[in-house]
Symmetry: C2
Subunit: 338 residues, 2 copies
């Protein structure tokens, strides 16, 4: 792993809420470095698009939008997704029309983003160009790239007594929002991923980075899906940049989301070390370094045994200052002194 | 003109706001007849669809929606169009994205109607089937039929110093909303009308009616466009039912809208008689009877000279009771006693 004491070009593989909060911390870290006379980080975000869904004829990209709204100052910070000062009149009316799905939360302000995106997609622009256009308004302070311009949608098999096979398959959003991840995930399939190609600039952003970071996003349906895009996982395994990740599992539980359920579905131990070793040491795997929470300090040894440099630091993203300290720890782990 | 003292099957050719208010009066009139021991009217509305517009990827049908919302109890009564208790967050956001057109008012509640309609159209349903589906929610108390399932859009030529021809062509909605009908209409063209066919049930509703009514809607871009659909105007000229209209011009001015500007563009006198004679006496024209306002009583003679039975009554639709009296006057004119 080449040393990079002060990385400038930083590429982050991000999911939604957790990734967006991590990126806030990264930009805070960069701003602090600039204040101290250093150079600003040039951050490229490769975002998961497998949570995307066509709903009511509109293309909705939850992870891209969460990153864009969070960094652009439009997010509802408490909820973690969607727009601040949001109203829900259109979706109330869709329910009154009896139109399915009724469980998908489409705010009135948020709708505008999906209308612009859908119209541009239908005019022939790829998702990457649409995302760039939307970001011209939001100015998120990062270059935001969809992992792919191709359609990839994660589906989850869940138990269904009524089905002859005993199971049925639902869109990831339905598993997460309607079923609240409260039923077992029998299988998690990113439909279309094997035919997808990395979006424009994605491989270059990974290969040309000074540092690649895996934020504490969901290791199966967020980062895992990004790494599953043919050529993209390969770029992470081969990049000259160090690759450091942060555990979404703290004290044997996910901090937010439903990583736990999905790790169980894949037979992966629900622990900080379990996830780190699932990513694996480069070049066969995807990691050089892995940060675990202080509470999981005992797991550092297992990671080091697996060829992954590890350290235990506070991993709760309570605010941008705390998150910036996590970024610094990741930078330190990537380029150890001495 | 056959007598029809108590018409049951009443077919109305309607535009938006004026037509919808007239229909409220017609239903009020029908309810009063039921209270008096009579039969309810079976009202079919053939609505203008040439104001329709694709905007932000959505199919918007102003006249259909105004009739549906007005009779279904969802209208903003003061504004005359759109939904009551409406918010405008999506359209604010579209403006923030810099997406054109910014002048078209799309409320958040209203958006749901356009999302449902657009998705059904894109799934292959004709506009008539979509309208029927939307009306299942609104229960307007009339059978609401688009004049055609084909795309017809009225365009208006306006002066433009910058254009080599000295004029440019805008969608009717742009003329009406953005330009506020404040510039001369050099030409008014219902694009597509000559290739349109009447929607399902439209010709039958006209031929099978006991009475056909032309409410005080715009004689050029609302009723005029409906009559311009090949086969539909013919049905009005040939139906065994009497055809009676109500003047939108009172005292030499339109009561609401921009009939005046468009009549001038066509060289039609802006008067109650001018409009009645423009429709003309059947079978060459479209009318048996024409109601003018009391203020225009002096014009009755000119209409009678033109072969159109005419009467002067109060024509201001101030409330459903006043409008119901206009309906009764139209019924009386269709079937004169003795």
């Amino acid at each position: 792993m080449p040393a990079s004491a002060s990385p400038t070009r930083i590429t982050v593989l991000s999911g939604g809420v957790g990734g967006a909060r991590f990126l806030q911390g990264l930009l805070h870290w960069s701003a602090a470095r600039v204040e101290a006379g250093g150079t600003p980080a040039e951050v490229t975000v490769v975002a998961n698009t497998a949570d995307d869904m066509w709903v009511h004829g509109l293309k909705v990209c939850p992870d891209l939008d969460t990153v864009m709204y969070t960094l652009g100052g439009g997010i509802d910070a408490e909820r973690g997704w969607g727009r601040v000062d949001e109203t829900w009149h259109a979706v109330e009316e869709l329910k009154a029309y009896g139109v399915e799905p009724t469980w998908f939360g489409l705010g009135d302000r948020d709708l505008a983003t999906h209308l612009v995106r859908t119209q541009m997609l239908e005019a022939g622009y790829p998702l990457s160009a649409v995302t760039e256009a939307l970001c011209r308004r939001w100015q998120p302070g990062v270059r935001l790239l969809p992992m792919t311009d191709d359609r990839v949608e994660t589906h989850v098999a869940v138990p269904d007594d009524q089905a002859p096979s005993g199971q049925r398959v639902v869109h990831f959003q339905e598993y997460w929002i309607r079923l609240q991840a409260a039923v077992p995930a029998l299988a998690v399939v990113p439909v279309g991923v094997e035919d997808a190609t990395p979006g424009p600039g994605v491989v270059e952003a990974i290969e040309g980075a000074d540092l690649v970071l895996l934020p504490p996003s969901n290791p199966i349906v967020s980062v895992g899906t990004i790494l599953g895009v043919p050529g993209l996982g390969e770029a992470v395994r081969r990049t000259p940049a160090p690759v450091v990740g942060l555990s979404p599992i703290v004290g044997g539980r996910h901090v937010r989301g439903m990583a736990q359920q999905l790790l169980e579905a894949r037979g992966i131990p629900v622990s900080a070390a379990g996830v780190g070793l699932h990513y694996g040491a480069r070049p066969a795997g995807h990691l050089d370094g892995w940060l675990v929470d202080e509470r999981d300090a005992a797991e550092v040894a297992a990671l080091e045994d697996g060829g992954i440099r590890a350290a235990a630091v506070p991993l709760m993203m309570t605010d941008p200052v705390a998150t910036a300290a996590m970024v610094q720890a990741a930078v330190d782990l990537a380029a150890p002194r001495g």
